[in-house]
Amino acid sequence: MPADETRLRITDQDGVTRVEFLDRNILDEASIQRIGEEIGEIIDASSEPKLLISFSNVDHMSSAALGTLITIHHKIRNRSGQLRLADIDPQIKEVFSITKLDRIFTIHEDTASALKSFG
């Protein structure tokens, strides 16, 4: 896989940028770093970014990926934006619960309810 090839599918829906992962496993540190950079560029390109990250294809993710999500959360807050997470497999949702990160992220069951929640 070329180093600069995106591992994300990015679509725009009613002013909300929806990010999906092409890989089932978000474990490789170099890939996680690239994902963080790519989403960071999306955030930097908007004054009040509205970002929906869908985990519909994801089976496994590491704590390094959680760290990247926290960095994304900070960046969006700094730009007065909104972040929603959706379509999270129950096993991965448990990881959010164990780490108590479900207290800082707004998590929706599915994309439709997440899209409706943006102000």
Partner: protein
């Protein structure tokens, strides 16, 4: 009716570098061995998560001051009732007591430091040896609900 004998344990010890393809090959061997011994999906999820976090810690922290390409050692033994893993690096070691609780309000917004919490949450036992260079983990297969007899 004759039953097939329960598969016995399988074990190996390998030296591995921080190479995603080799890590995937290792995981595929472990996952097949677990499936053959009847471990459910929740178990393979738990063991993969713990192994990935332990290897990441070894590569990122244990080998921080070592030349690139330095290997770590991964040992595994998959038995019908439990999975034993050990991940060891040749680095300077550390005191696990020094790792702060990542779930406090103060630490919750920090990007790192959750690997050990997850390992301890998903493994039945996780013990550091050799001044923190070696992490030994045991995962016990969940007991099946008793069969109903009508």
């Amino acid at each position: 009716m004759e039953h097939d004998p329960e598969p016995t344990s399988v074990a190996d010890s390998i030296r591995i570098t921080n190479d995603r393809q080799r890590i995937e090959t290792l995981w595929n061997a472990l996952e097949s061995a677990m499936r053959e011994r009847g471990y459910p999906k929740a178990s393979t999820f738990a063991v993969r998560l713990a192994l990935e976090e332990a290897m990441t810690n070894a590569f990122r922290h244990g080998l921080r001051d070592m030349p690139p390409g330095t290997p770590i050692t991964v040992e595994y033994r998959i038995e019908p009732r439990c999975v034993c893993l050990a991940v060891e690096d040749p680095g300077p070691g550390f005191d696990p007591q020094d790792v702060p609780d990542p779930t406090t309000d103060e630490n919750l917004v920090r990007p790192g430091g959750r690997g050990l919490l997850l390992i301890r949450a998903y493994m039945t036992r996780a013990d550091f040896r050799n001044q923190g260079r070696r992490l030994e983990m045991v995962y016990e297969k969940p007991t099946e609900p008793p069969h109903r007899v009508d």
